[in-house]
Symmetry: C2
Subunit: 148 residues, 2 copies
């Protein structure tokens, strides 16, 4: 997504295109797949724009969540994290695998969850709109380490 598209989205809602909003967006976009905390975004942006306030970062995150520009992720480490939504894959948010040994987080796509969701919708009469799937376990690297 280009900066002009962000401008367009904001204009449609009667919102203003500020330096701060553009910078938060650029920071998130520069590292797709990275799970930023609010503080991390703040630190990144402060380098080029030291006058930004942490409260603005929080407010911008809130706004971007409402505009569905970013996803919220909770990895149970005491921080809520955010990553930019992948426009090429709007239908399905990806899943996260968290290694309990090294703490590394792996993101991946896996369509088999659709069967699961279809079954749940049928069995319980729900309409599923979104999901958050976290798998915990040992990653390939840590499994191999344990073999030694």
């Amino acid at each position: 997504m280009k900066q002009t598209e962000l401008q367009e989205i904001l204009k449609q809602k009667g919102l203003k295109t500020t330096n701060q909003r553009v910078l938060v967006f650029k920071a998130l976009e520069s590292c797709p797949g990275k799970h930023f905390t609010a503080e991390e975004l703040y630190d990144v942006i402060k380098v080029d724009y030291p006058e930004i306030g942490l409260a603005t970062v929080y407010r911008t995150i809130q706004l971007f969540l409402e505009l569905n520009l970013i996803d919220k992720i909770n990895l149970d480490d005491g921080f809520v994290r955010y990553e930019i939504v992948d426009n090429n894959n709007l239908k399905h948010h990806h899943h996260h695998f968290i290694c309990v040994e090294c703490g590394k987080v792996y993101s991946f796509e896996e369509d088999l969850l659709e069967d699961f969701e279809a079954h749940v919708e049928k069995a319980f009469g729900f309409k599923i709109l979104n999901h958050e799937v976290k798998l915990y376990g040992l990653c390939k690297v840590c499994l191999q380490k344990n073999w030694i």
Copy 2:
């Protein structure tokens, strides 16, 4: 699980069976499937044991998590919640469906996730030990309301 079993588990680890630990356990056990916040547990226990401190509740929750007596659940409402682990179904933690309209949380079992996990293990070389699945959408009741 009986109180004597809790006592046994604690003794094995060289930990003491205190009134506070028994009361937190009983509170959790009295409502299986209920998602307690720390504060809710505190309030429940205070009725019969007003001298308990909130810090003790937090410390007991931490302990029970380490002993795998309870599960941690985050429903994105600003509170971390806990529920007692179902001993009759140790293999599989259940899943949660959260209605975005009424906010109600439905817990359910669904084995189809095993296929999903088996596939992920094979495809990425992970060893999956646990999972947390949250589905967001409209529940049966709210779907019907919207038909009117």
